[in-house]
Subunit: 332 residues, 2 copies
DNA sequence: ATGAAAGCGCTAACAA
DNA sequence: TTGTTAGCGCTTTCAT
């Protein structure tokens, strides 16, 4: 059997209370007793049972991360970043793939609450608003990541998507492009990026053309099809802004199929700056978010809520920056 | 306060024992009592506390997944597949990124044991053999995934890497290639794939050329450099087998830089059949493992160990198959 | 069919 | 400085 605190107490000839104090470094313990207890702990390879301590109102040091799926490489990066900063704060991450399914979202949340996780990080999108409201009502620590829910008073840590849309579009405008297509998804972030695109056009005194704004599913094939529709327009855009790298890469494929040269005949900008940018040819210009900092920040926020019951509500938006690569050039 | 089993018992005018039996569907409970209890549970939105039940010797329904990192897209796929089948079995996955660091491996294992996870799935590589032996000694359920440790009596679920190496090489041989380079990593799987490569050459009556077998780090830049060394050989190979897609894609980049046309002047085969194969141009021929089936299998194995204490040791190897795409063609 | 009660391993208030 | 003890929420044995 695994040794318990009782075994340690017995062998060290002290009470379990003393052992507990030694383990948790609180209360006053004489140096002698402490050493003796520590020695026994060492000898028996004693490991405190986190469950039992959580039962007494302590934390489980587990945070559930709800994320749509791992097919989009940016989600893998989110996960990596959040898990890494979690380690720094002493929290483990329980992964919950939602597949954009509100049912699954609800099941995960229910299950994770039964497992007494200390909080929830919800990444990228979440359909089940009812569930979110319930968490809020029950004062469960929740923070949204790379996602906002303006209608709810709920903390979030995101990149400034609107700003990102502006940056991407201004980059293309500066290269002389006037007819700029955009491919978006039906998500909050995507819409913000489109809003940035419109602002940038307006600032440049260009009237937005509705037919240049297209919506696509999140699979690469759908992106390719949508990019194709943009390229098949009677008056073809000279540049495309994909609201994420998948959408941009899909457009690049559509261009290749049609023999449209990138960047000579078509400039393309993506968003997320995933590794795809560097493996595709030509390398993709993309708007980068500071994923590492975002992960760090979201853990800070949720840990403050968990450990200090911090109630301050905040929407943190960090700045994106554009990584210029080979898919964008002056309009010819 | 969240309702406990006592609240339910009180309101339903039964004992906690009865409530417990209703929740767990065991013992004999009259239909009336059951209904009454269920109704109260419903009304209070009662959620049993998994911690407390785990304290009484039940499971936590959590499995720790140790995985090197998320940068390799195949790991993200592993994770996705394992998490999905975990859901099917009612187990959650706690993610532990090891970064190939034996210290981190050890820290995670210690921590996860304190958190009383029911078992461990260790994916792809694991350096800390001492830790592994300790788990085995303590009879903690562990299964290796996409990784084997021949010197230890430990269960594993993998693809048949040796066979995969044969398949990849035979594909190239069938296309008329004789001088085939290979880029490997210093891992068990990679070595198996190289072994398959050697076997296939031998079967074809070709003497392996030592200088055509190169080892690379796991980053794309390192792969590109190594691919470059292969291409800069006085007598350049007409085909390269990359022991994973990163290595293959790195070679493709090296080829592009040197103006070596793929597949006309160089055929390339990868391994893992990640999404990279479909986004790179030309699309990469790659050996695919049945990731979904592997994930399913590994959960089956570990859940049998956890729930039925199954002791049967087994190494399960599933069959790979090649997905032929555009990077391979007849030697010209 | 139902309930009383012990106890899982730990923490913390209180006593000594 | 150290120990006693009550309980966290649940399961399970043994009575009834």
């Amino acid at each position: 059997m695994k040794p318990t605190i009782y075994d340690i107490a017995r062998l060290a000839k002290v009470s379990t209370a003393t052992v507990s104090k030694v383990i948790n470094n609180n209360g006053k313990i004489s140096i002698n007793t402490r050493q003796r207890v520590l020695k026994i702990i060492e000898e028996l390879h004693y490991q405190p049972n986190v469950l039992a301590s959580a039962m007494k109102g302590k934390l489980t040091y587990q945070i559930a991360l709800l994320i749509p799926d791992m097919d989009n490489p940016i989600y893998a990066q989110y996960l990596k970043s959040i898990e890494a900063s979690g380690q720094g704060f002493g929290f483990s991450i329980v992964l919950c793939s939602t597949d954009n399914d509100p049912e699954k979202e609800a099941k995960h949340i229910t299950l994770m609450r039964q497992k007494q996780v200390d909080g929830f990080i919800i990444a990228s999108r979440f359909k089940n608003t009812r569930m979110l409201e319930e968490l809020l009502k029950d004062e469960v620590p929740v923070v949204l990541f790379a996602y906002e829910k303006p209608e709810l008073l709920i903390d979030s840590v995101t990149v400034d998507d609107y700003q990102g849309g502006i940056i991407a579009t201004e980059h293309l405008l500066a290269l002389g492009h006037r007819r700029i297509g955009v491919i978006a998804e039906e998500t909050f972030s995507s819409n913000e990026r489109v809003r940035g695109y419109l602002t940038a056009l307006q600032n440049a005194g260009i009237d937005p053309v509705e037919s240049l704004i297209m919506y696509s599913g999140h699979k690469i094939d759908e992106a390719e099809a949508t990019g194709g529709r943009l390229l098949d327009l009677a008056e073809r855009p000279s540049a495309i802004f994909g609201c994420n790298d998948i959408l941009a890469v899909g457009s690049m494929r559509a261009a290749r199929i049609r023999g449209v040269a990138i960047p000579e005949e078509l400039s393309v900008v993506g968003f997320d700056n995933t590794v795809w940018c560097k493996i595709i040819h030509p390398e993709l210009t993309s708007v980068a978010m500071p994923v590492g900092d975002l992960g760090q920040k979201v853990m800070e926020v949720i840990v403050n809520k968990i450990e200090r019951g911090q109630k301050i509500n905040q929407r943190i938006r960090m700045f994106p920056e554009i990584k210029v690569r080979a898919t964008t050039s002056n309009k010819q």
